[in-house]
């Protein structure tokens, strides 16, 4: 029986991890909602952002947090470009399948180029505050993890406000719910879709920075992330941003707690077990809307 302190520590770690998952899964959900695209390259962009943060720190000593000034707009533009220049070229009839292959190809490209530029060696940013920690009710929380969690919370809140309070957010939600109807309302859905992709990738830039603070990165690391993220968006209900966020927190917590009795490797399987169970018994997901039914 694990001690209470260990349990509490794991709950805290799970919460911190879940926050990052939530941010990344919301980006993935956004793409799916907008275009029915499963964006395999999402986590490759995540790693790319982390590499950029590492590289800037390594070369110029810039704090990773500052790298976001560059990466977030850059990724936004890349997202718009990706949607407008590539995804719209695909035939609507085969869009779902072919877009998976296309984004898969992009993921391979990014992985290959990262490997070419920085080799397969694992990298890690050495921060002055890397091993510092705070004490919270007897448990210890690393400062870097707290910063990463804070970044995720800020980004998610911004996304929420953007979707709920702005005119663009309204157009985006309308496009997600019913593209044709949105068009009838006079929304330029192509433009909205492009911007939606940009925002999705911008979340990857934020997530990548958060990631680079506390973990090692290497080019093929993105496969390690895409699996859990895909599981999260299915469990949350494809296309539902709040669903993805809740599923992310729940599964992140489950992973962290299951590590105590099962060990790290087996604990990771919780994502896939949840994925299969969801598809077998409740294919529309647990928090999802109607989108999920047909996909």
């Amino acid at each position: 029986m694990p001690s209470g302190a260990l349990l509490f520590q794991s709950v805290l770690l799970g919460l911190l991890l879940g926050g990052l998952y939530a941010l990344l899964a919301s980006g993935l959900t956004l793409y799916f909602g907008i275009m029915r695209v499963v964006m395999i390259a999402h986590s490759a962009f995540l790693i790319l952002a982390a590499y950029l943060a590492w590289w800037l720190h390594d070369q110029a000593g810039i704090d990773p947090l500052l790298s976001m000034i560059g990466t977030v707009p850059l990724f936004f533009l890349a997202g718009v470009g990706l949607q407008r220049a590539l995804l719209t070229r695909l035939r609507p009839a085969t869009l779902t399948m072919m877009s998976v292959l296309l984004t898969f190809a992009i993921a391979l490209l990014i992985e290959g180029l990262l490997g070419y530029a920085f080799s397969g060696t694992q990298r890690r940013i050495n921060l002055g505050y890397g091993s510092a920690s705070l004490e919270v009710l007897g448990a210890r929380v690393a400062v870097v993890k707290l910063i990463a969690f804070g970044l995720a919370v800020v980004a998610l809140t911004t996304l929420y406000l953007l979707m709920k309070k702005t005119r663009f957010g309204w157009a985006l939600r309308a496009t997600i719910q019913h593209r044709d109807a949105a068009r009838l309302l006079g929304i330029d859905t192509d433009r909205v879709a492009g911007f939606g992709f940009g925002i999705g990738l911008a979340t990857a830039a934020v997530g990548g920075t958060a990631l680079s603070l506390d973990t090692t990165i290497y080019p093929s690391l993105h496969w390690h992330w895409i699996g859990p993220l895909m599981a999260i968006i299915v469990v949350g209900g494809l296309g539902s941003v709040p669903g993805a966020a809740i599923a992310a927190l729940v599964l992140g917590m489950a992973q962290s707690l299951l590590q105590i009795p099962m060990g790290t490797t087996w604990a990771q399987t919780v994502f896939y077990v949840a994925l299969f169970a969801t598809l077998a018994f409740r294919p529309q997901g647990f928090f999802g809307g109607r989108l999920a039914q047909r996909f």
């Binding site: 029915r36 070229r89 391979l108 070419y116 068009r183 494809l238 490797t265 598809l279």
Partner: protein, 345 residues
């Protein structure tokens, strides 16, 4: 005219078969022969993949995992179960086919996207399981599969070359049989328009599930044969996401609706991969090349090389000029949608 093109086709097929069969005698050294075995392995895998991809249009990126399961199934049955190698091969493949039923049940219940997600997840979860469950699978220490025959290495390659060729022929035969059957027609109608197929009375879910299981069986069979040939299994390489993507690339490049599409794709991509890794092996550029090629095929040649070549022949063949081509339906539909859009603004 029809007879001429049919004769051409038959000639090409005979040439391909003769080339494949004669290869071992022509190979200058055992290394080239081993590359040949590898290419045939890819051809068989990619043809097995094409049972799902070609007929139903569902793209699986997880077939590498099914091959890995077949390899480990066979390997474990031989190494730990003490079964004779080729009995283990079929038993292993049958087990994988049985396992494909619940996997397909979850993956195919809903459309498109979930299937892809499940297929990728399959690779990732099996990698975790086979790494962690070391007491059974050997974990990262790997699993050594005993050699089925006591042969010198070049002879070993030669024997397995023909075994792979036989397996490929069997897979092609079954694919061809399904292609011309009513079951195959139903599958193809799912690929073309799943709603429409269902509205016409095709039990789409059952169709997809059956063909997925058939595909899993052949994939596992090929994986198992690979295990007997290669001898060393390691989860990292058996459950690699790259294997699946190579299969997709091969099938897509050759042409998924053609019987020999995946074979042609496997010969092209398999040889290129081997050459590329030999020539530029010190960089991860083969990932870049694979990614680029995949993107180009998806964007510009989703029907593959074989149809493109066939079109080229048709263009030379003046007598078969198209008389019926007016405005196609899809063009018309696009036009209508655009009009609706314009009206909405």
């Amino acid at each position: 005219m029809l007879n001429a093109s049919r004769a051409l086709k038959a000639g090409a097929i005979l040439l391909l078969a003769a080339g494949i069969l004669a290869f071992p005698s022509l190979a200058p050294n055992p290394y080239i022969l081993s590359v040949g075995v590898l290419v045939l392995n890819y051809a068989a895998l990619s043809t097995s993949w094409n049972f799902v991809g070609g007929f139903t249009g569902y793209i699986s990126l997880g077939h590498g995992a099914l091959a890995g399961l077949g390899a480990y199934g066979t390997g474990l049955l031989v190494a730990k179960g003490g079964l004779p190698p080729f009995l283990a091969l079929f038993a292993g493949a049958t087990l994988v086919a049985a396992l494909a039923v619940p996997i397909g049940f979850a993956a195919l219940r809903v459309r498109g996207a979930s299937f892809v997600i499940v297929s990728i997840s399959l690779v990732l979860i099996l990698l975790l399981i086979f790494q962690s469950w070391a007491s059974v699978t050997g974990g990262s220490r790997g699993l050594v599969v005993p050699r089925p025959f006591d042969l010198s290495r070049p002879e070993h390659h030669r024997v397995f070359y023909y075994l792979f060729a036989g397996l490929l022929a069997l897979a092609l035969l079954v694919w061809w049989l399904i292609d011309r059957s009513r079951f195959g027609l139903g599958l193809k109608s799912i690929r073309e328009d799943e709603d429409k197929a269902e509205a016409l009375g095709t039990a789409t879910y059952a169709y997809k599930l059956i063909v997925f299981v058939v595909s899993a069986f052949f994939t596992a069979l090929t994986g198992g044969l690979y295990a007997l040939w290669f001898g060393d299994l390691d989860p990292v390489f058996q459950f690699s996401i790259l294997t699946g993507s190579y299969l997709v690339l091969m099938a897509l490049l050759g042409g998924v609706r053609q019987l020999f599409g995946p074979v042609v794709g496997a010969i092209i991509v398999g040889t290129a991969l081997e050459y590329f890794k030999g020539a530029y092996g010190d960089t991860p550029l083969h990932l870049v090349a694979t990614g680029l090629l995949l993107a180009l095929v998806v964007l510009f040649m989703p029907d593959g090389v074989l149809p493109a070549v066939a079109d080229l022949f048709k263009r030379f063949d003046r007598t078969q000029s198209s008389s019926i081509r007016e405005v196609t339906a899809s063009e018309l539909r696009d036009e209508r949608l655009k009009k609706a859009e314009g009206a909405a603004r």
